[in-house]
Symmetry: C2
Subunit: 337 residues, 2 copies
């Protein structure tokens, strides 16, 4: 029985879309533990036909807002839904936790209560993004946990990202790329140059530098970078997609001909929009934390939450954490030889 703790009050559309999404993914052999306000949750669970054996509620009233300073928020409100959900893993009551709430607070609570896996210097937020190939995604890490990554952190991102892509997408020996300003060795900042050497000497399937224009072109299955850079790339992508849809709307309503064409293409646009909507892609694990933690996008709808729960269950089943522990141990042993 896999037990998944869910922050029922985190995200723009909580609690309703969270419960609705949980119902979409609910299945036998899985127990969902909703952390949130009983008064709101009981009628919602009834509405969405949850049975008592499938769903439990852990009551918590306080919620950490999306804009609250993460570390302070977790310290000041340890009883809020997000920290409480994270603690359920520590207390042995859950195998994984999912939240669409404050990313920084999720990371802070995870580090505080669950700690990093032994040997891991820094955890990494690790979303999967769409690519131009509809059947493939690319994992980008870190996108904002660690603003001043050192070379050894980037190496560890490579090891963790490789195992994650293997488990989640069933790719054997995923291709690992290092985000850089050029293809050739010797490019980029000092940290990135050092990381290049460490990756070359490691056991991961390192394919070298990847320019950010190639992220979406399937040159690598996993692209690793500093959290500041990853965050900038990720959000620039989101902003650009928004800007392009704004531009399209204007162009495609500029005349009678355009309007007719746009009407015919309506279903195709919906497909395109869905494919480009990062929030649908099942959430980002906080890799390196000693517990399966899935961060869903703040704007997640029910489908996105459902995808996130599936990813959480999958990573528990596939014993991702155990494998990360073993690989990191092996890497350390080699360094000590």
């Amino acid at each position: 029985m896999i037990r998944i703790a869910i922050d029922a009050m985190g995200g723009d559309h909580a609690p309703e879309e969270i419960i609705k999404g949980a119902q979409l993914s609910a299945k036998e052999g899985q127990e969902l533990i909703f952390v949130g306000d009983e008064e709101q949750l009981i009628p919602l669970l009834k509405n969405y036909n949850f049975h008592r054996t499938q769903a439990n509620i852990v009551h918590a009233e306080e919620v950490i807002g999306g804009d609250e300073p993460p570390v302070q928020a977790v310290r000041k409100k340890p009883g809020a839904t997000l920290p409480t959900a994270v603690r359920l893993i520590k207390e042995g009551k859950a195998d994984a936790v999912l939240s669409a709430g404050n990313t920084g607070a999720f990371m802070a609570a995870a580090v505080l209560y669950l700690k990093c896996i032994e040997g891991i210097h820094r955890p990494a937020i690790s979303p999967a993004l769409p690519t131009q190939d509809p059947d493939r995604m690319v994992v980008l890490l870190d996108v904002g946990a660690n603003m001043d990554a050192e070379a050894v952190h980037l190496l560890q991102y490579g090891i963790m990202g490789s195992l994650y892509a293997e488990k989640r997408f069933h790719i054997k020996s995923p291709k690992i790329g290092l985000l850089n300003v050029g293809d050739e060795a010797g490019k980029g900042s000092k940290v990135v140059q050092d990381a290049f050497k460490l990756l070359l000497d490691s056991k991961v399937h390192f394919v070298g530098n990847v320019e950010s224009r190639e992220i979406f072109a399937n040159k690598a299955d996993v692209v690793i970078c500093d959290g500041f850079v990853g965050n900038a790339v990720l959000k620039a992508g989101e902003g650009l997609v928004e800007a392009i849809f704004t531009m399209m709307k204007k162009e495609f309503t500029s005349g009678v001909r355009e309007k007719a064409g746009a009407a015919l293409l309506q279903p195709a646009f919906s497909n395109l929009k869905r494919r480009l909507d990062y929030s649908e892609y099942g959430g980002a694990p906080l890799l390196g934390i000693n517990g399966v933690c899935i961060k869903s996008h703040g704007s997640s709808n029910a489908q996105a939450i459902s995808n996130g729960i599936k990813v959480a269950a999958n990573l528990v089943e596939e014993k991702l954490l155990k494998e990360i522990r073993e690989q990191i141990q092996r890497q350390e042993d080699e360094n000590n030889d």
Copy 2:
């Protein structure tokens, strides 16, 4: 008479699109100096109806390739078209130089022959990008000259970017934003936190942190960042636009209905594509260099080259360098008070 030196052999479509583009922008009171292979250039200039008084040729046979390591290439081939064109400014024979060739080699030659403006620590590559507002662009700097920017470099980018946006887009007191992972002060890496304070104390119209999703949403007229980050953002944007057009092509040819719609929208798509084509936007000045240097995109067509030449002439007329010199001097004087 403004004299513009043009690397006639740099870029994917040289020399023909370069000459064609130069013809598009050619006007009275402007002298163009083409640096390249006479044998190729003489018939081309004739084809495009250049008069002897408007165009000169400086013969150079060697060309620095797009993939050559920049610094070594400039050292090994000082007589190649790009370094030769840059030297024309030093020799007092040109007021500005334009190339669509190797960016790193352009920067290396500019630093070697023209030096930085007094007081400037590091130059910055400074393209203007489209935004969701068709009437506005955003200047992003640095996008790759300096991989390990310090806080004071970012401050200087702010000062130079402000003057550039003012001259080029005739904006009074342009809004300057600092690329960061969140809106609030105190976010980001150490360098960025320090730069935030310097910008706050400076004379530029600092609007605070800008998340990269807001780059294209007109929150600021100028966004400043480390060259590694800027390069990653810029190229991620290019890659994403390519990926989106690939996706659209697939979606919009998936059935009869879609094909009919796409046919009707053909002109609208062309507009959209042109608006999103970074290469059309007139090239990026190498701000901080003691000479007007315009880097056009490697894939520039004639229109892009023509735009670049106009920007070069405009910056000479507007005396951008003189103003940068004065502002930097003023900033230094204040720091010494």
